[in-house]
C-alpha cells in the first residue's frame, strides 16, 4: 500500500533534511513543473486529480485555483497561504506532516505557488507547534541556500519566497478569512464573502488559503500523474487520507490510508477496537464540529461523498470515539464550552447562543436541568444553522449537539428525572466545576 504523504516519516525520529530528502525523490515535482510544464498545465492536473481540501470543507482544490486571476494583467503580488492552525479538537494530522516532513511542505508550496503564479507564501502556524516551527525554519533556510526559493528558481523566470508566521492562539484564526486578518495584524474576525480571497485576499491581493495536508498531495500528483493518484483511492475522491482515531480505543493513532477506507476498518483494524471494559456508543468522524455517527453507520467509507449519507461530514477525518463510561451530556458540554469560548464575538447569535447552550448543558450536568431546556437546545440548533451566522463556527458547534440530542435523548432526560448526572462517579462525571476564569487577556464575553 502506498503512503506518499508519510513515506518519509518515521515515528519520533528527525525528519529528512535536504540531502536525504532529495535522495528520496524530493523536489522532483519542482524540477518537473518549472522545466516542463506551464502553470495552466499544473492547475489542470490538480483539477483532474479530484483532490479535495483536507481542512474540513472538502472544496475541490483545482476549482479553487481556477478563480485566481492569471496572466500579465493579474494584480501582484499574489499570495499562497498554508493553513497550519490545526486547532479543531480531536484533530492531529497536520502536526504529523509538519514535524515529520518539513521539506515536503516547502516543496508543496513551491509547485502550488508556480501553478497560481504566487510571489509570496506564508505558513500560518499555531504557536503551540514549536517543534514544527523550528523544523520549518531550517527547511526554508536549506531550500533557500539550494536555490529552491528566491529569485529565478532553477533558472526559470519564476520567483517565490516563503515566510513562517507563528500565531498566538484562538481557533477562529483557522477560518480562512479570519486568518487573513490575523496575518495583516488585525483582530482575527472573519471577512464577508464575496469577494473571495482568491480574488481579493491578503492586503487586497489574490490569495489561496490551503490546508497543510491538501497541499502535501500536490507534489505527488505532479511527479506520478493523475492516473496513479486516483488509483490510490477506493472511492470517487482521489488520493490517500490521513485518518485518526482518539478516545478509549486500544491503539489510538493516525494512519495514511486509501481515501474511502471504512469507519469500521479504521476503528477495528487500525485502532484495535474499544479498550477492554468500554463499549462503543458513537463517534464524531472528523473533529469536534462534525455530527455524531452510530453503530449503523460503521460501514460507510470515510470520504466526502459517503459520510453525508449518515447525516454528518468527513471534516478533518480524525475521529473521536464516545464510549459507555463517558456521559453524552458532559461530552456535549465540553464541546460547547470550546465553541462558546472560541467564538470571536462578532455576531450576536453565535456568542450569545453558544454561551446560552453551554450554560444549559452545565445545568443539566449539575442536576438542575428542566425538560423545556431541551427544547431550547433544539431551538439553538436551528437558530445557528448555516447561513444564520457570519461564519461556519456556530453551525459547526451545532452539528454535534443536534446529533447527540438525536441519538442520546434518553440520557439527556435521565439527567432531568434523576436530578443528577448518572455518570457522576466516572472520572468525567459532573462532580467538579468545569468552569473557571479563562486566560486573563480574553475580553469577549463568552460566558
Amino acid at each position: 500500500m502506498e503512503r506518499p504523504l508519510t513515506h518519509n516519516i518515521k515515528p519520533r525520529a528527525e525528519p529528512l533534511w535536504l540531502a536525504e530528502y532529495e535522495k528520496a525523490g524530493g523536489y522532483e515535482s519542482v524540477r518537473k513543473a518549472l522545466r516542463t510544464m506551464t502553470p495552466e498545465e499544473v492547475q489542470k492536473l490538480v483539477t483532474e486529480s479530484t483532490l479535495r481540501g483536507r481542512g474540513g470543507a472538502g472544496f475541490p482544490t483545482g476549482k479553487k485555483w481556477s478563480f485566481v486571476p492569471m496572466g500579465a494583467d493579474a494584480p501582484r503580488p499574489k499570495y499562497l497561504v498554508v493553513n497550519a492552525d490545526e486547532m479543531e479538537p480531536g484533530t492531529f494530522k497536520d502536526r504529523l506532516l509538519l514535524e515529520g516532513d518539513p521539506h515536503q511542505m516547502i516543496e508543496s508550496m513551491i509547485v502550488s505557488a508556480y501553478a497560481i503564479q504566487a510571489d509570496v507564501g506564508y505558513i500560518f502556524l499555531r504557536m503551540e507547534y514549536g517543534i514544527a516551527a523550528a523544523r520549518l525554519r531550517k527547511a526554508i533556510k536549506e531550500a533557500r541556500a539550494k536555490g529552491y526559493l528566491g529569485r529565478n528558481l532553477l533558472g526559470s523566470d519564476f520567483s517565490f519566497e516563503i515566510y513562517l508566521h507563528t500565531s498566538a492562539g484562538r481557533y477562529i484564526c483557522g477560518e480562512e478569512t479570519a486568518l487573513l486578518n490575523a496575518l495583516e495584524g488585525k483582530r482575527a474576525i472573519p471577512r464577508a464573502k464575496p469577494p473571495f480571497p482568491q480574488v481579493v485576499g491578503l492586503w487586497g491581493k489574490p490569495t489561496i488559503v490551503q490546508n497543510v495536508e491538501t497541499l502535501c498531495n500536490i507534489p505527488h500528483i505532479i511527479t506520478h500523474g493523475v492516473e496513479w493518484y486516483r488509483r490510490l483511492s477506493r472511492g470517487k475522491d482521489g488520493g490517500t487520507k490521513i485518518y485518526g482515531v482518539s478516545g478509549n480505543v486500544k491503539r489510538p493513532g493516525a494512519w495514511e490510508l486509501p481515501m474511502g477506507t471504512s469507519i469500521r476498518e479504521l476503528l477495528e483494524e487500525h485502532a484495535g477496537g474499544m479498550k477492554d471494559g468500554f463499549a462503543f456508543r458513537g463517534l464524531l468522524p472528523g473533529g469536534a464540529s462534525t455530527a455524531m455517527l452510530v453503530e449503523e453507520h460503521l460501514d460507510l467509507p470515510m470520504d466526502f461523498e459517503s459520510i453525508p449519507q449518515g447525516g454528518s461530514r468527513m471534516g478533518t477525518g480524525t475521529m473521536i470515539v464516545l464510549d459507555d463510561h463517558t456521559c453524552p451530556v458532559g461530552f456535549a458540554q465540553n464541546l460547547e464550552h470550546f465553541f462558546a469560548q472560541e467564538s470571536c464575538g462578532w455576531c450576536t447569535p453565535c456568542w450569545e447562543g453558544l454561551s446560552w447552550t453551554e450554560r444549559i448543558l452545565q445545568s443539566l450536568e449539575d442536576g438542575q436541568g428542566r425538560m423545556d431546556e431541551i427544547d431550547v437546545l433544539t431551538m439553538h440548533t436551528k437558530l445557528l444553522a448555516p447561513g444564520r451566522t457570519f461564519c461556519a463556527l456556530a453551525p459547526g458547534a451545532m452539528d454535534p449537539l443536534q446529533s447527540l440530542l438525536k441519538y442520546c435523548r434518553a440520557d439527556f432526560e435521565r439527567h432531568i428525572h434523576e436530578k443528577r448526572c448518572p455518570w457522576r462517579d466516572e472520572p468525567n462525571g459532573a462532580d467538579g466545576a468545569r468552569t473557571w476564569p479563562v486566560s486573563s487577556s480574553m475580553i469577549v464575553p463568552t460566558r
Binding site: M87, E128, H165, G185, A188, V321, N334, I443
Partner: protein, 174 residues
C-alpha cells in the same frame, strides 16, 4: 527638523524614548520579523511575542513601546493583543502549564489531571502559585489527541499523562 514646532519635537522625543525602552536584542528580533511583511502592523503579533519571550509577559509600558516602533496607537495594538489567549497582558509564573481541556483529553481523564494539578499546586485554573513558579491555564486541543491526556509546560509537550507522570514532569521545571 527646524521647522517643527516644539510640541511636535516633544512628541518625537517621547516616541523615541518609548522605543528605546526595548532592548537592542528585542528591537533586532522585531526588525527581523518585520522584513517578512509589506507593512509594520502585520508584524505586531510576532513583535508582542518577542517581548513576551524576553520579559514573560506584555506590560502596558512594553505594549506602548512596541506600538511606537510599529507606528500603531497603543489602543490599536492592545485590541489585537487582547484577542489572543497566548499573549499575556498580566504577569505569569516562571513556568506556564497549559492543560488540554478539549474533547479527546476530556474523554481520556482530563478531570483527574486537573484535580491532581490543582491539589499538587494548591491553585485553581487561571492562578499562579504564591512562589511564582507555576501558572495553570487550560488550553484547547494540542493536536496530540492519540496520546491523551496531554499538557504543555512552557514550550514542551507532555503526553499520555497519569497523575504520577504529572508529578515527575513538574520536577523538571524548577
Amino acid at each position: 527638523m527646524s521647522s517643527l514646532r516644539s510640541h511636535d519635537r516633544e512628541l518625537i522625543t517621547q516616541h523615541s524614548a518609548l522605543i528605546t525602552m526595548l532592548s537592542d536584542v528585542e528591537r533586532a528580533e522585531i526588525e527581523e520579523e518585520l522584513l517578512h511583511y509589506p507593512d509594520k502592523q502585520a508584524g505586531c503579533v510576532e513583535a508582542l511575542k518577542v517581548v513576551q519571550r524576553h520579559r514573560g509577559w506584555v506590560s502596558d509600558e512594553s505594549l506602548k513601546s512596541v506600538a511606537a516602533l510599529l507606528g500603531m496607537t497603543s489602543e490599536e495594538l492592545d485590541s489585537v493583543a487582547t484577542f489572543y489567549n497566548l499573549i499575556f497582558r498580566k504577569p505569569v509564573g516562571r513556568h506556564v502549564i497549559f492543560l488540554c481541556d478539549s474533547i479527546s483529553c476530556w474523554v481520556c481523564g482530563y478531570d483527574i489531571m486537573r484535580k491532581g494539578l490543582q491539589n499538587r499546586l494548591g491553585i485553581s485554573m487561571g492562578e499562579t502559585t504564591p512562589d511564582g513558579r507555576f501558572t495553570l491555564l487550560p488550553i484547547v486541543c494540542l493536536g496530540a489527541c492519540d496520546r491523551a491526556p496531554t499538557m504543555m509546560v512552557d514550550d514542551d509537550l507532555h503526553e499520555d499523562l497519569t497523575t504520577e507522570k504529572v508529578d515527575r514532569v513538574l520536577e523538571q521545571y524548577p
